[in-house]
């Protein structure tokens, strides 16, 4: 799972969002580091929909603009949780590896 796909799935963890809402939430989650362009966003959404991790969940017109909402499926939620565990395990392993590094000059 790419970082962008993971962030898009996390952005939907609290409920359905439309495309622009996802872009904003991804910026917040990544602390400004990841800014999805529309082309990238819809490429990621297409792949997640194909994988049945995300589904379209209604649309509405706001201020004359079409908003299609996307939500996380149960499969998508499960995949997000599993990926988060993997990342957490990796972070713990990385932390151990880095703290076990001998300090220069003490060997």
């Amino acid at each position: 799972m790419t970082e962008q796909a993971y962030l898009v799935m996390l952005s939907l963890a609290h409920g359905p969002r439309h495309g622009y809402g996802i872009v904003q939430e991804v910026v917040t989650l990544s602390e400004g580091r990841v800014k999805l362009g529309a082309g990238t966003l819809y490429g990621v959404l297409d792949r997640l929909v194909d994988a049945r991790y995300v589904e379209a969940s209604g649309e509405e017109v706001v201020d004359g603009r079409l908003r299609r909402y996307y939500s996380l499926t149960d499969e998508g939620h499960g995949a997000s949780v599993a990926h988060t565990r993997q990342l957490a395990a990796l972070a713990r392993t990385a932390h151990r590896a880095l703290t076990a590094r001998p300090v220069a000059g003490t060997a």
Partner: protein
């Protein structure tokens, strides 16, 4: 919803539509309004065009989407080279192919193509394919034939490639075999096209033959005379028949679309060029033969064109004028079998041959 209808500044929406060109047509039909709205939200207030960086991102993503939606090469070849129906997951891709202006599939599979590519040069023998004039005409002809796929072909191809095959469950949101309207060209629009198609090459042929010092063959006069009775009888029968047209519930009367006009214009240009090239290359018999094929129909076409200059009912079609001339009465069209979209949540279309599926997943 169309991009322009998405509450977005019209020039901005137009700019986005241009940048979306790399996406597959089906994707654009479903998502254009939505992505345009997102891009408008991301753009600076008052923007009238999409910035180049975002546009390039759309081009890149569009190409990636096109690659992702296309079948693998070998699967694609089954359709392109052998016209085999593909598995259900590739039908959206096939749908795009059938709607495209020049279906690539037609270039390889039409028997006419096979004949033009290999049979004709072989029959002509002495004519090397590397002759520039021949090659240009040849390519023009290929392109014109390939792009001349009309509604009838689309309908038949849709039945073969888009609707569920035997043993498959139909799904809402996708095509199903049903009944479609019988499309017919409106009389005025059709007569205009016929006048161009038959008139222009005939005038070109007569002109180049005379200018080249070739006498018009006396037989050509006989061809014209053969067509004159229809041109005389037609208007008489139209006078009585046009006011008594039968109801046509299964018919869809249309004016020629831009696509149809382009097809007719292409054929007119190609035939005229063939005539000019044949006379220039001392094969004036080709020009005479083409002229001979056009002349018997031309008087009737001129009569039909002249009649449709005046007031005619909207429901009158070119086929009706032909039927009235030849048969004295107009045939009532029947609905045709064709692919019909089964709208999600809607009832199964009339004439559908499958029982409704209790549930299903619409294809992407």
């Amino acid at each position: 919803m169309s991009a322009e209808g998405a509450g977005v500044e019209v020039r901005f929406a137009r700019s986005v539509r241009r940048w979306l060109v790399a996406y597959p047509p089906r994707w654009r039909r479903v998502r254009a309004g939505e992505i345009t709205a997102v891009l408008a939200d991301l753009a600076a207030p008052g923007a009238t065009r999409l910035d180049v960086r975002s546009g390039l991102g759309l081009l890149r993503a569009g190409l990636a989407t096109r690659r992702r939606m296309a079948p693998p090469f070998l699967v694609r070849m089954k359709y392109v080279a052998f016209d085999w129906p593909l598995p259900a997951q590739y039908r959206p891709w096939v749908d795009d192919q059938l709607r495209s202006a020049v279906p690539g599939q037609g270039l390889l599979t039409t028997p006419m193509m096979v004949f033009l590519l290999w049979g004709l040069p072989w029959l002509m023998g002495t004519k090397p394919i590397f002759d520039l004039t021949f090659l240009v005409l040849y390519l023009l002809l290929l392109g014109t034939i390939a792009s001349s796929r009309g509604r009838g072909w689309q309908r038949q191809a849709g039945l073969r490639h888009l609707v569920p095959q035997a043993g498959e469950e139909p799904v809402p949101g996708w095509y199903i075999k049903g009944l479609v309207f019988h499309p017919r060209l409106a009389a005025r629009s059709g007569a205009n096209l016929a006048a161009v198609f038959f008139g222009v090459p005939a005038v070109v042929a007569a002109t180049v033959l005379l200018a080249g010092g070739r006498l018009l063959h006396p037989l050509l006069g006989a061809f014209v005379l053969a067509g004159v009775p229809f041109a005389l009888v037609g208007p008489v029968r139209w006078r009585h028949g046009i006011g008594r047209l039968p109801a046509q519930p299964a018919r869809l009367v249309e004016r020629a679309s831009g696509r149809v006009r382009r097809i007719v214009a292409s054929w007119t240009v190609v035939i005229s060029l063939v005539v000019v090239a044949a006379v220039a290359d001392d094969h004036s018999w080709i020009a005479s033969a083409i002229l001979g094929a056009l002349l018997p129909v031309l008087p009737w076409v001129v009569a039909a064109w002249a009649r449709t200059r005046g007031a005619v009912p909207d429901e009158l079609t070119l086929v009706d004028l032909r039927d009235l001339t030849v048969r004295r009465h107009v045939q009532v069209d029947v609905a045709l079998p064709g692919p019909v979209l089964w709208l999600p949540g809607g009832a199964m279309p009339a004439g559908a041959e499958h029982a409704p599926a209790p549930s299903g997943v619409a294809p992407a």
